[in-house]
């Protein structure tokens, strides 16, 4: 049954892998909304804001490109009843948000309105 090889199944009626995958998806969307609102700063604060937009979009893309890997990892973890926590993903997202916030504070405090 090749279908079952391509799409691994798990016995979790709580649908945890799917819910976690959707939570990552919502985070991607939130990140893109933040990027879109940063765009509103472009006419006021100039090119520097481009780095904020780029950082948010790159993070959103990175999350989305690794979603499938995390989904399969979760399914595999439930099948094996053991799964190491995904420190790299959580740390990367948290660092990205912190960087965005620091750049935002810098923009508000030190970049004059033009």
């Amino acid at each position: 049954m090749p279908l079952q090889n391509n799409r691994p199944t798990h016995g979790d009626p709580g649908l945890q892998p799917e819910r976690t995958d959707l939570a990552w998806g919502r985070t991607t969307l939130s990140m893109l909304v933040a990027a879109a609102i940063f765009l509103r700063w472009l006419p006021h604060h100039g090119w520097f804001v481009g780095t904020l937009v780029a950082a948010a979009v790159v993070t959103a893309l990175a999350i989305n490109l690794t979603r499938k890997r995390r989904f399969h990892r979760a399914i595999h973890g439930i099948q094996q009843e053991s799964m190491p926590p995904d420190i790299a993903s959580t740390a990367a997202v948290a660092v990205s948000v912190v960087i965005l916030a620091v750049l935002g504070i810098y923009t508000v405090l030190f970049l004059p309105l033009t």
Binding site: D12, A34, H44, E81, P84, D86, G104
Partner: protein, 133 residues
Amino acid sequence: MTATNSQGSGSGRSGFSARILGGGTEPDPRFTLANERTFLAWIRTSLALLAGGVAVEAFMADLFAPELRRTIAVLLLVLALVIGGGSFFRWLNVERAMRHKTPLPLPWIAPVLAAGGALVAAVMVIFVLVRAT
């Protein structure tokens, strides 16, 4: 193939993650996933605060005095910074507690969020009252 890939990178990181997680035994993967979703919910809260702070600065130019606009924007952005950074440590502490089967730590970022939100609201109320008179 994807599954073997993720397994490979997982075992490659195991020395590093074992050090960060402080040993213990692997909890039920469902709890690990639930902890991850809770972390993401905090991150989205932080992103909403971030977007709110940027929006105050970007959209309220004609409405608020520059100092007030700046104060509210920086307050929201600092809150986003603290919640965003804190959510990782919250995630890590919960993961550690689950591995050692100790009681889960209280979320200190929750009162921070409540107090921060109240502070921003208070600044707005004072501003509206001052402007009305």
